[in-house]
């Protein structure tokens, strides 16, 4: 193992600190966690990986298939099996496998914003971060605080360019108007982590909803009862919403012209490249969506350790960030976690009206938020 640079040492310190500081009642749990530091070269890992079995990757992103294909070309003799699941199902399968002592995979790629990934897989030590030194030194600092993020995205509002040549709204309250009934699509927040992160986080932005209403209506929002402006907004707009299983259905409805608007993950903007009729709403009062990110982690019971490390290196773009493994993720609607790799999206995250989810608050308020969204969904 090579000498660890000062910056990396600081990064590792931050990660270990973050892990030990997790809000887990059991101190023993956090002690189980280990930050994997292995400065073996790709060549050394490859040599060892050739003696291992097929690498199993559980992912929430179909784009990993492209990474897998490039990986198998770059490292002949290594094989990757990809299982593509929605976040809640992925967490459940990984958790169950670990619980019964038969781990289902070696590497996990998951949306990490709702708090579920953290509480169920990270805090329990089922997945652990691996970040090689030569790549870690090039990552933005917030990309490795307790977990290794490999991609930034957003849950953001889109409009259908089949229906509108330019975005017809400026204020989120316009979506509550009768003319949009059945014309707004949203993935089920209880089944989509990125949607949950947005919907649940928005409930903490009451003042911004109130101010936006005043801009929209010209008067202050008067609400009877105990409801706040955020809750009122979602209850009202949900009458116009068609809930879906995933972002894919939202993009398809926008492309078909069945939807005027829809929230989905920003990386779906890449579909505009194959002619999908959709465009993001970057500017919206008070906000258009929320930031999200994706983590790549090893499972603690990983059977193919060297293959897993090699794959993660590959996915992170290798030392110079130019590796083929990261390329499938450098598309419109994505933002880089590395300082040396440009964003995939033309418009920077800072120029978009987005909120940042407070993950700990999401975890703390989970019961209340889930109850709120369950009521909305049943009412829909």
């Amino acid at each position: 193992m090579g000498k660890i640079s000062g910056r990396i040492a600081a990064l590792i310190f931050i990660m270990v600190f973050a892990l030990s500081g997790c809000a887990n009642p059991s101190g023993n749990e956090t002690e189980k966690k280990t930050v994997i530091i292995d400065n073996s070269t790709p060549e050394e890992l490859y040599e060892r990986a050739l003696k291992e079995d097929t690498l199993v990757v559980y992912t929430v992103s179909t784009r990993v298939v492209d990474t897998k294909e490039a990986f198998e070309k770059t490292y002949p003799g290594l094989f990757v099996e990809v299982r593509d699941l929605r976040s809640p199902n992925l967490i459940e399968e990984v958790e169950k496998g670990s619980g019964r002592g038969t781990p289902v995979c070696d590497v996990v790629l998951c949306n990490d914003n709702s708090g579920e990934f953290k509480t169920r897989l990270i805090d329990t030590g089922i997945v652990i971060p691996f970040l090689p030194e030569d790549i870690g030194s090039r990552m933005k600092e917030d990309a490795a605080d307790g977990m290794v993020s490999f991609l930034n995205e957003a849950e953001i509002l889109f409009y259908s360019t089949k229906v509108y040549s330019e975005c017809p709204i400026e204020n989120i309250w316009e979506l509550t108007e009768e003319k949009y009934k059945g014309r707004i699509y949203l993935p089920n927040p209880l089944r989509s982590f990125s949607t949950y992160a947005f919907c649940a986080s928005s409930l903490d932005h009451i003042g911004e909803f109130e101010d936006a209403y005043e801009v929209y209506a010209g008067d202050k929002l008067e609400i009877e009862g105990t409801e706040n402006a955020a809750e009122y907004f979602w209850k009202k707009v949900s009458k116009n919403i068609i809930f879906t299983n995933s972002s894919d259905e939202v993009t398809e409805a926008l492309n078909d012209g069945k939807a005027d608007f829809g929230w989905c993950v920003s990386s779906k903007l890449r579909l505009a490249g194959v002619g999908y009729s959709l465009a993001p709403v970057y500017k919206l009062t008070p906000f258009s969506g929320c930031r999200t990110s994706y983590a790549v982690m090893m499972t603690k019971e990983c059977k193919n350790v060297n293959s897993a490390k090699l794959f993660i290196r590959f996915l992170l773009g290798e030392k110079d960030g130019q590796g083929a493994g990261l390329k499938p993720f450098c598309t419109a609607g994505t933002w880089s976690v590395r300082g040396d790799v440009p964003d995939g999206n033309d418009v920077p995250l800072s120029a978009i009206d987005l909120i940042a989810p407070d993950q700990q608050k999401l975890i703390d308020d989970k019961e209340k938020s889930v109850a709120f969204w369950t009521d909305i969904l049943k009412g829909n």
Partner: protein, 483 residues
Amino acid sequence: MDTPRRKLDRQDMRKRKQIPTLTWIISILCLFGLCLNGCTPKEGREKLSVAIPESAHIQDLGNNYYINWLQEQTGYDLDIMIIRQSSGTGILDALFSSDADIDIVMFGEDFKITQEELSEYVSSGDIYVSGERSYYENTGSSKNSGPGQILWINYNWLKALSLPIPENTEELKAVLTAFKEMDPNGNGIKDEIPMAGSYEEYSLSPAEFLLNSFIYNDPYHSRYGINEDVNILYATTDEFRAGIDYCHELYEEGLLDDSIWDGNLKQLMEMCNSNQDIVGAFTTSSISDVIYQGNPEILARYIHVPPIEGPCGEKNTLYVQKEPEIGAFITKRSNKKEQAERLLSLMLTPEASLIARYGEEGVDWTYSDGSDVSVYGGVSTITTVNYIWDTSQNKHLNGIGPMNVPEEYLEGVTWNGVNSDFEYINGRAYMSYEDDLPKVREVHLYDDKLSDYMDAALEEFIRGKKDIGSDKEWARYLEGLPR
């Protein structure tokens, strides 16, 4: 479909033959491949001998949750004989030529039989008929009605060539031309097949799909109209002729592959699943008709294309209503017909059918509280906890045998969260096609003779054996139509 399968079944209509002794001995050995459970029946309980096809999706028939449930409910012991063959008629011929003591034969997975084939066994007196019932149906694997033909296109090729998903016939032609000319699979060889198909099913023929961009084309109902036009043969119209002309143009330019007429389904599957990535587009009623299960990489290669608009703004979605498949029958020789009827009738109840489709209630699925979205976009009625369909499991028979899942549950089942799940992929495609379905679904009956004539004429026109541009040829075609 509510009509016979395309050419294959009609050509291969089974004739009962004398079976050589050795063949039937081997067949019977295959039939009695395994004897489970009932080999040691519990004392005092009735025993029913049931032949069930082998399935890679069932771990242990001797201790299967559904089998145990059926035994518990009926009080019978089921003596399971595993069928190790996929030829429905071959094994039945062997069975009925032997003295095998089988009360019930169940169908499912690859072991299937058509109505026509079944009727021959009914005529020969091998199958027990009670009233009008000669078999127990299976209507529980998927939604019973909806879009019947979807166009799938190679997404990787579109990306590689920076091409948009085609929306109309002109764009489609441009995309297929680029597929042919621009080496989208990047191997330096012109091995791309822009649009492939098979003769085995109408839904596998892109030509049938493309005609729907000119006029409603329902080959499963002999290309008659729908709604109030149910007695008008659309295949005589100028629009239909323009559609054939378009298909001929594509064929002449090498964009429509000969496999549409010369290839069987197996060949189409091999082409579409090939690691060489050689197919640009194809059509099916379900993606699972062609793409192998458990192959997310290949699945990620193809995405559905919404209905293609023709030059006059026409676009239609073929509507199909599936007819129940044959789930099981009782043999005439059975001396426990009443018990067999009781068992099979139980399997058709919603309670049994839900186990047969989704597994153990409370463990594998629950009734939904309405807070989920179904795989077809509606409100959910069934929430799957463990999605076990088409996986190796021991909760049910994976669609083998009779079942009758109420439509509200088939349409209301939640997605299992697996992006490569066939039902989810199909469900999303169906949503894109639904708006272009005929509004009223009154249909004409299938006419064998007429369809055969039109199938042959279509092939000849598209492949250029006859000139679609010639008014004389077209008039001859119209004159020759069997009425």
